[in-house]
Amino acid sequence: MSTNSIHTQADNYDVAICGGGLAGLSLALQMKQTLPERSVVLIDRLARPLPESTFKVGESSTEAGSYYLSEVLNLSDYFKTTHLSKLGLRFFFGGSMERFQDRPEYGISQFPVVPSYNMDRGMLENDLRQFAEKAGLEVIEGCNVQEIELADGDERHEVIYEREEDGSVGRLRAHWVVDAMGRRRYLQKKLGLTKDQVQRCSAAWFRLEGRIDVGDLVPQTETEWHQRVPDGIRYYSTNHLMGAGYWVWIIPLASGNTSIGIVALHDVHPFEEYNTYERAFKWLQQHESLFASYIEGREPLDFRCMRRYSYSSKQVFSDQRWACVGDAGVFSDPLYSPALDFIAMSNSFTTEMIKRDFEDKLDPQMVMNFNQTILALNETITPAIQIGYPLFSHPVVMAAKVLWDTAAGWALLAPQIFNAIYTDHDTSEEVRKAKSGYFFLTQRMQQLFIDWANKAPSRCSYEFVNYLQIPFLRDLRARNLQPGKTSEEIIADQIANMERLEEFAQVLFLVALEDTMPEYLERFSSPVWLNAWRISLNENIWERSGLFQPVSPPRDLSSLQEQIRGLFQFAPC
């Protein structure tokens, strides 16, 4: 049922969701599927039909985020038939190279079994509104939320909104209120909960009509390049053109259009150099000239930009019956497309809190745990990604970093989303214990990548890293990107995954050493087993820091070492 009339008296609902973007709509659908007896209303500024190519970003999803949309929300058939399957992330490094085929490439060559998608946000949000309405959601369209008055105690919150068409004002009351109004961050600002992160990056993006295919940047006579990813399917990847301090995304959309975005580090690429379409095109001519020539003459369907986009929060959920989901809560760096992962977790937490509240079982400690989970994830992911921006001009270091970040994502985060265990307190606590060593291990690894890049020139190179051809990653993916596991299985997996990451850290250290400090390799003759939490390219602290004092019994690294070393070619010393 669509409600276009304005309510002059406050209507009462169990839940009011303010904002009808991807986060708000998917939450509404999840709410109606989980708690069909609860009345849920969604208020949004935009009325249908939404434009198919919207100004919204977040078109690329991870496997975990896709699992949430397709399986948790029961939209599997819809995604398979309506949106484009994604051929993973693909990176082309070496922005300044004249021949595109000479750029080191990191990607895959066939569609994986576990899907992810490139989503047309306009189509998706139009369709989600219909699905949610069909499930019983009440939608108030074309109305701008003016105010949310949070109530004390058991009183209902009040939402005041204005109809854009005639300026009339409506009010409604709800037991729970959810801010899903994106970067407006209404509740965050009202309650003084915004929290800055070091905001090093800005972005601009636009859509071009028609198909923009990176394969067109390489002559067909370059058969080896074309055949290593057969049938021209690179188009279906979320493609990234990487250069010093920037990346450019190229994402195919089911509408037939293509999304293109520039994301860059301020210090290297001032925002003012690409904050209009004309400037962005000039910027592309300067930094990605081949690509700029390819798209020259096409008119953009839209253009948007965002200065210093990432932010965090002090609190996103409250036992006083409010929640902030999607961009209304935190905004992480988009390089690995994590936005939908955050939506999956935030929406599931919100649904669980509301469910428990109506059962009179809402525990403030549980709400705090949910809060800490989202905030910690954001505050870990964004810096870990953004330290990589100065490294984008180092293809080998970035390949190692993306491999590490991918392995960690599949090993530790994805299984939680695939099995929704984060809403189960006891299992979550056990999982936390199982992977408690990860946080400082990945800090060590990120420092290793920085030091590795700083020790240029390197001896190492590659043409194509096909990451699903690496048995280690393939196994990690197969074991962890699957639902239906028991708590015991997940905990056992997490313990095993931490062991794999401990091994992987040592192997990447040995590759970095061989690349930049081969004269020290003899100190690490096989069998090697180190304290992975103390790896460093500073040879002066190895002994003192305890690098040679492992914290776990030795395991054989030779197979993994062979797999990872085999990705690269090493020039003679």
């Binding site: 800490q372 910690a376 994830l377 505050e379 810096p383 936390r432 214990k433």
Partner: protein, 86 residues
């Protein structure tokens, strides 16, 4: 309270709450934070609690080290932040 006292008090509380490793009295500036086996949730909670007391946000400087590795570095980071805000 000095910055050091605030950091140590909050660290002791977070370790007590989130870690199986005891917070002993003989820790020094060189004691490594990874010895407490704190995960990202615990470490984020620690930083939030310190920031509530010191009254300013911690810039996550990313040009070099991503997070402090030792207790001395953690104290120094917040000492620097406090100095900048005075």
């Amino acid at each position: 309270m000095t910055v050091r006292e605030i950091v140590m008090k909050q660290l002791a509380e977070v370790v007590e709450l989130h870690s199986l490793i005891p917070f002993s009295d003989d820790i020094t500036d060189d004691t490594r934070l990874d010895e407490f086996m704190l995960d990202s949730i615990a470490f984020t909670a620690l930083m939030s609690q310190i920031e509530e007391q010191i009254g300013s946000l911690t810039p996550r400087e990313t040009g070099g080290m991503t997070y402090p590795q030792t207790i001395g570095e953690l104290v120094a980071m917040y000492t620097d932040v406090k100095r900048e805000t005075l």
